[in-house]
Structures are given as C-alpha cells and as structure tokens.
Symmetry: C2
C-alpha cells in the first residue's frame, strides 16, 4: 500500500553526482575544492573528546554561530547553522511556503530545487535566463506576478559560473515581495577585486536570506555544515522549524576551526582562481565557448562538430569525471568542469586536447 | 514583515532540556547514557582522515546501513540512516501527512511531536493514556476514526518508562490504517528476558516504522545519528524526502564502530538496568510511587505532603538536574530521573533523602 502523500508518490528523487571513489579517478564533476581542509581542522579533530559525545550538542551551535557572526560583522542572531546547505534550502521552503504555493527559479539551475519544491507540495515556477545567463528584465515584477513566496537565486550562477552584481540583487530584493534566498555556495571563489559583500544587503532588506556553506570554500563537503545569514524576520522562523539538535558536536568544532583559519582557506581560493584562468584560456584555445566564471567550475560549450556527450564518455573511460547534462536543452553540448589542482587540470586538458585531435 | 507560514508564526518552538555544562553538575534530566561511548568509537575517530572530508559523504551512509541491517537480520533496503531521531520524526510527518491531516499520540508524551506537527501545519490528535500508562481500549479504532495518517507510539513510554508488549503493538499495526511509528529511543535498556524484538513486526506489516537512535544506547547524543527500520512501503518514500546528504562522513564512521561493538554497549545497558532497580527501590522506600521502568529513567510521584517542584529546585541548588514538568496535569508532582552511574545515583538518592527528612 502507498502511505505517502500524493506529491511524494509522484515525484522523482534527487540523483547526487557520481561519487566513484577509486584510486586514479579524477573527480571534476561535483565542484569539490581540490585542496584538503585547513591543518587546523585536523588539529581540532585530534582534540575532540569522544566522552563528550555522551551528551547533547549545543542546539544552535552557539560557539560556531559566534565565529560566523564575527567573520561577517553580524550578530549571532543573524546566523542559523545547518546540516549542509540542503537543510537550509529545504527549511526555507517548509517555513515560508504552504503546499501549493509557488517557488521561483531562473533556469537552468540546481536541480535539487525542483525536488525540494515537489517534496513540499509546492509548484516550481521557472523563468528562463537570458542568453548571456543574466536574469530576465523586470524579474521582480515577474516574480511578484507569479505569487512566488520564495525565489532561489544562485550566485555565482551554477552551472555557468557567472556572477550577478550586488546592485542588481539589491534592486530585486527591494521589489520582490517574498523571501529571496541567495544560494552563495560558490561565493568564496569570486575575485576579491569585485568586492562582492552581500552581508551589506542585510542592512536594508529583511527578506534576504544568504546561504553559505563549508562544503566548497572550506573543503568540507563530507562534514555537512552550512549556514544562513539574515535578519530576524527570516532567521527566527527558521529557528523554530529546524530540527532541535540539527548539527553534531564534532562538526560544530571542525567548522569553527575552518572558518577561523581564513588565511589557509583564502589561499585555496586564490589557487582556484588562478587555475580557473588557465583552464578557461586552454578550453577557449580548443574552440570551446566558456563564459567568465567566478566560481570553482567552468561551463564549456564544445565547438561545432564536437559532441559533449562523447567527450564526457571518453574522459570517463580514462578515469576523469566531468558533468554532462543530458536532459536540459539549454545545456546541450556543454560540460561543467570543476577546477582542480594544477596537476588535475593538466591531466584534464591534455586528455581533452587529445580527444579533440582524434575527432 | 512576517514572511513565514501562519502555522509557523503561531507555533511555539521546542525547548530542549537544560544543558548546563559546568564541573560538578549532575545531569539526570535528559536521559543520556551515563557511560562514555565504546573505546572503538574513539579508535574510529583517531582513524578519520580529514583530507577525505573534501568530498561528499556516501549519501545513504551505505556501510553503516549494512552494519545496521546485519545487526537486525534485515536488508539494507529496510534501513534509513538519519541525522538524529528528530530528523526521522520530522520526515515521517512531512512524507506521510498533508497539511491539515491529523497526527495521533497518546498523552502524556514527548513534547516535540506537538512542535513537529505544528511546523508542518498538521493537527495533533491527543488520546489519554490509562491510569497505568497503557493505551486506551480499542486504540486502533479511535485512531482510524480520527483519520490519523501517522501515530507516534513511544516504547518504552516516556516519561513513565513502561513497556507496551509486542503482541499489543502487532494488534494495533494490523488494524491501524496509517503509519505506526514506534519511537524506540530507549529500547536498548529493556530487560533482555522480555525478548522484545520489534523487527519481527516487519515480517507482517508494511505500515510499521521503527525509530532507533545512537543517542541513548550507544552514548552518542552529541553525534546526531539514528535510523529507521521498515518495509520499502515506508522506507522508499522517506529516501525521496530526506536531505540528499543528510549525515556526515565522521558520524557515519563513528556510529558504525558503535553498533559493531555490541559487547561494550550491552554492558552499559546491563549496568543501567541493575541501577534502575536500585533507584526504583530506594525511591519507593522514600514513599514515592514509581512504575516499573524498562528505560534509562524512572518517573517518581512524590509522596503526599512533598512537592515535586520544591525537590526539583532544591536539587538544582545542589547541582543535580532532574526533569520537572510544570505544565502537564497528568505529570503533577512527578519527577523524571535519569539513571546514572552508581556514584551518580548515590549522590541523587542521599540528596533526596535529606530533603525529605527536612520537609
């Protein structure tokens, strides 16, 4: 017998990226940081006292909340710590949208949003990004007309890697009547010269909720730690709906060590930025169209006569995983490639170059 | 402006038990295991490789799923690993009940159920337990008449500690038309002579979902790890609605070490059982009414002329925390006391005895 809700019976599950963990495999398909976490994370792990696990952890991860607040020049009341970014995304829908309400995204985008909306019984309203990956004109009007309670905006955008300027986001936040969730999973890789500081939006707007994660910038995807930044108008209701002890004691302590070592983390970001240029230039050299990425991946459109699918499969045969989107029309003949270490990128580029010569 | 759903605006947040972490405080208020986790958990922690945290964890905690399945003589498909029991409870409501549907419990019970139902926009239908903490007669009929989509049944019951026999649960499962969640958070402390093996219910019933946790029996409340056992009719939809990577790599590995060391864990359960007898006998000696507990706590009704509230406050003054329920009529003049180590219990009992002599 089927006991689940109709919307759940009818929905398809989210399919995580391929995680093949065998020696020699080069994973450039799930946008992980190619560098290990800070040595201070290892030191924090070494100091964890297993005997303390007997007791419940601090329910809101208070010490970590304070470290995060300090990093952003905010108060701990502006911070909610979550079990990965997924949890914050799900909670945002469950807290701000009733069943049958509309959630808005601009396509193409992260496919998890569709799954989360369906699981909650919400409609996902899709708008199309412009050819150059910018948002549609009068986007706020379109959102308001759609009645969307929540809009997810990924910045830098995935899968194109392009960045929407802060000024444009401010205009959107001012006009949009629902909650604007800025999914900034990849924000740490933005060129610091751009001076993108979305915390400033919180001075003015109470409908902005900023998602940050330890998964990418701090090389801690395996730890499942993320956080939301916002005003009490959005943070307080989320605090009511989060699981009562949603993060564990070890993860709280390791995440704190990571965020307090900005020097180490920003060195990995610098390396990724510099390699992003190398990879972008080399792919363009091969005839690919590659928009300027501010993320730790690039989206490459294969040149005419070259099949992205064939390249994807041939690379896989050689133990190199990149992301190929078989179902999205807008992503036809494109590959999303995570920036690796210089050595990783050399391996990728020479494999691609050899495949192109053969085709 | 209020952006959240009406039901969330109107609901009260769950208030976790007092967690005062200072030296000399004796915490007998939140039912934690008084013994540390297995030495094998510490060994597993020592073996964690921080560099592996760079990548996403196994999304369903596959190795742990297999260890859990082996322990219960089930298949991994019968197991869902969750970020604490809270996550499974929340997901059960969100997966099997639409907004405005009814969730049933027998009162008094765990106050979190009320919060979770309210957060999802569900009604909580309360039935009253009998004087001796057994379920109402024809409980399945009452549940079916109420239209409940989910019934939470805590076994052993909290806060009384009493156990409902497996035969009775089987009758309920056979007749109830919704999903019967057995919250077995405290099951590890049941006398093995009773031979309570709820896994057997799964041979017959596809509407039974069993919650087990690492928090109590395995001394890992700080780790946030739990699991559900059930047939695919309930496990498969939950797999669709769980966060895509809901548990982290370190917790998966530590939980696995814990469940594979049954010898150590069952030694802590034996000690708790034997001390439970000591504490029960001593409290009865003082004139308290204490039902037979199969859990790691006892519920003591103070003798006439003694105020539970006063005892609670006086113990707190001495650095001993027990649980006093100020708002539940059925729990008037009662204290819920977690079973500690022999030394913990001696300290509690002599403090209580001294307070009684003074009153």
């Amino acid at each position: 017998m089927a006991y689940e809700r109709k919307n759940i019976e009818n929905m398809a599950a989210y399919i995580p990226g391929e995680q093949i963990d065998s020696p020699g495999i080069l994973k450039l398909n799930t946008n992980e940081n190619p560098y290990p976490p800070s040595p201070k994370v290892a030191a924090a792990l070494g100091k964890c006292d297993v005997a303390r696990l007997r007791q419940y952890p601090p329910p809101t991860a208070r010490s970590l909340q304070e470290s995060i607040a300090a990093r952003h020049g905010l108060s701990p009341d502006n911070v909610i710590v979550t079990n990965g970014g997924d949890e914050l995304l799900r909670m945002t829908i469950a807290t701000f949208a009733d069943s049958n309400d509309s959630i808005a995204v601009a396509r193409p985008t992260y496919t998890l949003y569709q799954v989360l909306a369906a699981a909650h019984g919400c409609k996902l309203t899709n708008f199309e990004l412009n050819e150059d990956w910018t948002h549609p004109e009068h986007y706020a009007d379109l959102l308001n007309k759609s009645g969307a309670k929540v809009c997810f905006l990924v910045n830098p955008h995935a899968p194109s890697g392009t960045l929407t300027a802060l000024e444009q986001i401010a205009l959107l936040a001012a006009e949009f009547q629902g909650v604007l969730l800025l999914d900034e999973a990849y924000i740490d890789f933005v060129d610091p010269a751009i001076s993108y500081q979305s915390e400033r939006l919180l001075e003015e707007f109470d409908n902005v909720l900023i998602l940050r994660t330890f998964s990418k910038g701090y090389s801690l995807a395996g730890l499942r730690m993320a956080y939301g930044l916002g005003n009490p108008a959005v943070i307080s209701p989320l605090m009511k709906t989060k699981d009562s002890y949603n993060t564990d004691l070890i993860s709280q302590s390791l995440a704190r060590a990571a965020i307090e070592d900005q020097e180490y983390a920003s060195e990995t970001w610098k390396n990724v930025r510099s390699e992003r240029q190398v990879v972008t230039a080399a792919l363009r050299e091969m005839g690919c169209v590659v928009p300027e990425s501010q993320s730790n991946f690039v989206l490459a459109t294969m040149p005419a006569g070259t099949s992205a699918e064939k390249i994807y499969l041939a690379l896989k045969d050689q133990g190199i995983l990149v992301r190929y989107f078989s179902t999205e029309e807008r992503l036809e003949n494109k590959l999303r490639i995570t920036i690796g270490t210089p050595q990783d990128n050399k391996r990728l580029l020479s494999a691609m170059s050899a495949l192109q010569e053969m085709s």
